[in-house]
C-alpha cells in the first residue's frame, strides 16, 4: 500500500526532501537511488539482514511493561528496549542494513558521520564484521564529550577524523563527511539518520522500520491489540522516531509524539528544538525545517545530548510536523537528566541522554484511563555516565 508518508519519485514528503547536492555527488546518489529499493526488497538481502539482526544484534528487542513507571504516570507504559541491542542503541539496525547495501553495490570503503558516537560505533562495528575500511567524522567538541565511544571506534579499527569547522559538532561532522565523499567518490557514505539527500531518509527509515514492525506483534501478544494509543520517541535527525512511527503513520488513531531537545529552554538561545525555532531551508542535501538566521546561515544548536544536537530534522519529520500528523514536544537538559535518574531508580535501567528526552515528557502529559503508551528507549546510558555522575549532585 502506498502511504502518503512515503516520498515521491524525487524524494519529497510534501514540500520536504529532495536531493540538493553538488553535481559532484550526482553519480553516487543516483546509483543508490536506482538500486536501494530493489536491494532491500530482495530475498537475499532480507534473509541476511534478518539473520544478522537476530543473531548478531539480538533482535527482537524486548517490549517491556515498565510497571513502576506505569504506576507513577497512571498509564500502561511499555519501553521498546533498543538499548539492549548490540552496540547499545537503535543505530545498528540501520548500519547492518546499509553495509549489506554497500556490499551489494561493490563498495569496500565506508565513511560515516557521528554525533554522540553511537552511529560511529555501529558503523565501525559492521565494518569490522564485514572486513571493510571505515572512516568516521566526528566534531571535535563531540570527541571530547564522548571519549568512550571514540575509544570503541578506534578499537574496532575505524579511523576517527575530527571535524574542526563550524560548531565542531554533528552538523560539521556531516559537512566534512560529505566533502570527503565528494573527493572520494568510490566510498560509500553510510548516513546515520533519516537526513541527507534522497534516497537516504527513506532508506534509513525503511531499515529502522523493524522497530515498529516488532512493536506491532509484541503489543498484540501482550494486549491483544497491535496499536498503542501513543508512541513517544526523541528526535535529533530522527531515525529512532522514524523507526518507531513507521508502521503506524497511516493509523491516524495512534498518537505520535516526537520529542526534541530544548537545551536550556526553547527560547534561551541554547536549544536544539528545531520544529519550534526552525524554518524551511536546505541542510545536508535535503529541504526540511532547520534553525537558521534571517540570511539563511545555519544556527549552531545546543543540547546536553550530542545525539540531539542537530539544527535540522529529517524531511519525513518536517512533514509529520507540518501536516500535524505528529505532535512535537520538547525537554530541557534538566528535564532529561531528571527523567534519566528516575528511570534508573525505579526501573533499574540507565537510558541514553537522548532517550531520556523522550521519557521526560511523560510527566507533561495527562493520560486517560488505561492509555497504552510505547516509549522508544533508543539507547543505553553507558556512554553518558560521565555527564550523569557530574550532575548527580544537582
Amino acid at each position: 500500500m502506498k502511504s502518503k508518508f512515503h516520498p515521491d519519485k524525487n524524494g519529497y514528503y510534501g514540500q520536504f526532501g529532495g536531493a540538493f547536492i553538488p553535481e559532484l555527488l550526482y553519480p553516487n546518489v543516483k546509483e543508490l537511488e536506482d538500486n536501494y529499493i530493489q536491494i532491500i526488497n530482495s530475498d537475499e538481502f532480507q534473509k541476511e539482514y534478518k539473520a544478522l539482526l537476530k543473531d548478531y544484534v539480538g533482535r527482537p528487542s524486548p517490549l517491556y511493561l515498565a510497571k513502576r513507571l506505569s504506576e507513577k504516570y497512571n498509564a500502561f507504559i511499555y519501553l521498546k528496549r533498543e538499548d539492549l541491542n548490540h552496540t547499545g542503541a537503535h543505530k545498528v539496525n540501520n548500519t547492518i542494513g546499509q553495509i549489506l547495501v554497500a556490499k551489494k553495490l561493490g563498495k569496500t570503503k565506508i565513511i560515516a558521520e557521528t554525533g554522540a558516537g553511537q552511529h560511529g560505533v555501529a558503523t565501525a562495528t559492521v565494518c569490522a564484521l564485514m572486513g571493510l575500511e571505515c572512516t568516521v567524522f566526528m566534531g571535535e567538541k563531540d570527541i571530547e564529550r564522548q571519549a568512550p565511544n571514540v575509544a570503541r571506534m578506534k578499537m574496532l579499527g575505524a579511523k576517527v577524523i575530527p571535524a574542526l569547522s563550524g560548531s565542531k559538532t554533528l552538523k560539521d561532522a556531516t559537512n566534512e563527511a560529505i566533502r570527503y565523499w565528494i573527493q572520494h567518490p568510490e566510498t560509500f557514505y553510510l548516513i546515520g539518520s533519516v537526513v541527507g539527500p534522497h534516497p537516504y531518509p527513506d532508506m534509513v527509515a525503511r531499515l529502522q522500520a523493524v522497530i515498529s514492525e516488532e512493536i506491532k506483534w509484541q503489543l498484540k501478544e501482550k494486549t491483544g491489540k497491535e496499536n498503542p494509543d501513543t508512541i513517544i520517541a526523541c528526535v535529533g535527525g530522527g531515525s529512532n522516531a522514524a523507526g518507531a512511527f513507521y508502521h503506524y503513520m497511516d493509523d491516524e488513531d495512534v498518537e505520535l509524539i516526537a520529542v526534541e531537545a530544548s537545551g536550556l529552554g526553547v527560547n534561551s538561545g541554547e536549544s536544539a528544538a528545531t520544529s519550534q525555532l526552525g524554518e524551511v531551508g536546505i541542510i545536508h542535501g535535503s529541504k526540511t525545517i532547520l534553525m537558521q538566521d534571517e540570511y539563511g546561515q545555519i544556527v549552531e544548536p545546543y543540547s546536553i545530548s550530542a545525539g540531539l544536537d542537530y539544527p535540522g530534522v529529517g524531511p519525513l519529520h518536517a512533514y509529520l510536523f507540518d501536516s500535524k500528523r505528529a505532535t512535537f514536544m520538547n525537554a530541557t537538559d534538566k528535564e532529561a537528566l531528571t527523567a534519566a535518574y528516575e528511570l534508573t531508580k525505579i526501573e533499574g535501567i540507565i537510558p541514553a541522554l537522548e532517550s531520556a528526552h523522550a521519557l521526560a515528557v511523560l510527566s507533561k502529559i495527562t493520560f486517560k484511563k488505561d492509555q497504552v503508551v510505547v516509549v522508544n528507549l533508543s539507547g543505553r546510558g553507558d556512554k553518558d555516565l560521565e555527564t550523569y555522575i557530574k550532575h548527580l549532585e544537582d
Binding site: 524525487n10 536531493a19 553538488p22 573527493q183 572520494h184 531551508g281 539563511g296
Partner: protein
C-alpha cells in the same frame, strides 16, 4: 558593467577570480573588485559567505567564516555592489548556496541581483532536476542565467542536457574535489578535458577547482575558454592583503 557574453566573444584564455565578500575586512568587497579589474581580470566570481559551504575546501570555508564574523550579510553585499554598479566594468558572477536565496526570498534575491547589474549566478547545490521543475522559470523571469557544473563523472548524456540549459558558460570542475585542491593537472584530467572539448558543445567552458597558478591556468586554457582561480587567490589575499592583489594576478596573465 560589461556583459559576460561580450567578454567571451572578445577574448580567449579568460581569467576569472573567485573571492569572498567581506574578506579580509567587511568593506573590502568593492576594494577587491577594483583591484582585480585594474590587474586585468576578465570576470569576477563574487562569493556569498555561507555557514555551511559543502562544496568548498578549508581556505574558502575559513574566509567565509571570517567574513561572517566581520558582519557580512546579503543586504550588505547587495549595498556594496550597488555602490560600484556604474564604476565597475568587469562582469560579476554571483556564487552562493541555495539556502541563502531561499531564505532571503527567491524573487527578492533575483530582483536585487538584477538591480546590481548582474545576470549570472552559480549555486553549486542547485541540482538540475530542481532547476527544471522550478528555478528555470524563476530565473527566466528575471533574465538570470544559471551556471551548471560538470565533473569527470558526469555522463555525456547529462552534459548534453546541461549544455542545452547553459547560456553563460559551463563550469568544468577539474577533478573530483572540493575547492582548493592542489597540484598539477594529471593525464587523467587532460583526457577528461579532451573528452569535453571533443563533444563540441555550444556553451563556453571555464575550468575551475584546482587552478592555482600560471602553469595550471595555461594548461586549462588549452581546453576551455578560460579558468577560475579561487582558493589560491584567497590564500594570497589573506596573507598579503588587498594592496598585493596585482602581484598575484600579473604573473598569471603576463
Amino acid at each position: 558593467m560589461k556583459k559576460l557574453e561580450t567578454i567571451f566573444k572578445e577574448k580567449k584564455n579568460l581569467l576569472s577570480i573567485y573571492f569572498t565578500c567581506g574578506y579580509p575586512k567587511l568593506e573590502d568587497t568593492t576594494e577587491v573588485i577594483f583591484a582585480l579589474e585594474k590587474s586585468g581580470v576578465d570576470f569576477i566570481e563574487v562569493g556569498l559567505p555561507y555557514s555551511d559551504p559543502l562544496a568548498d575546501g578549508p581556505t574558502i570555508q575559513d574566509s567565509s567564516q571570517k567574513a561572517l564574523q566581520n558582519g557580512i550579510n546579503l543586504d550588505i553585499v547587495f549595498d556594496q555592489l550597488m555602490t560600484i554598479k556604474e564604476t565597475n566594468k568587469t562582469p560579476l558572477v554571483l556564487m552562493g548556496y541555495l539556502n541563502q536565496m531561499l531564505k532571503y526570498g527567491e524573487d527578492k534575491f533575483c530582483q536585487k541581483v538584477v538591480d546590481c547589474g548582474i545576470d549570472t549566478v552559480i549555486l553549486p547545490d542547485l541540482p538540475m532536476v530542481e532547476f527544471e521543475n522550478h528555478y528555470k522559470e524563476l530565473f527566466d523571469k528575471y533574465g538570470i542565467t544559471n551556471v551548471f557544473l560538470i565533473t569527470p563523472h558526469t555522463s555525456d548524456e547529462r552534459i548534453q542536457k546541461i549544455d542545452s540549459y547553459s547560456k553563460a558558460f559551463i563550469y568544468v570542475v577539474a577533478s573530483a574535489s572540493i575547492t582548493g585542491a592542489k597540484g598539477d593537472i594529471s593525464n587523467q584530467q587532460i583526457a577528461y578535458f579532451e573528452r569535453i572539448k571533443a563533444m563540441n558543445l555550444k556553451s563556453n567552458l571555464i575550468v575551475g577547482f584546482g587552478i592555482s597558478d600560471k602553469e595550471t591556468f595555461t594548461t586549462a586554457c588549452k581546453y576551455a575558454n578560460g579558468a577560475i582561480i579561487g582558493s589560491a587567490f584567497i590564500k594570497n589575499l589573506g596573507k598579503n592583503g588587498v594592496d598585493k592583489i596585482d602581484d598575484f594576478i600579473r604573473p598569471i596573465i603576463s
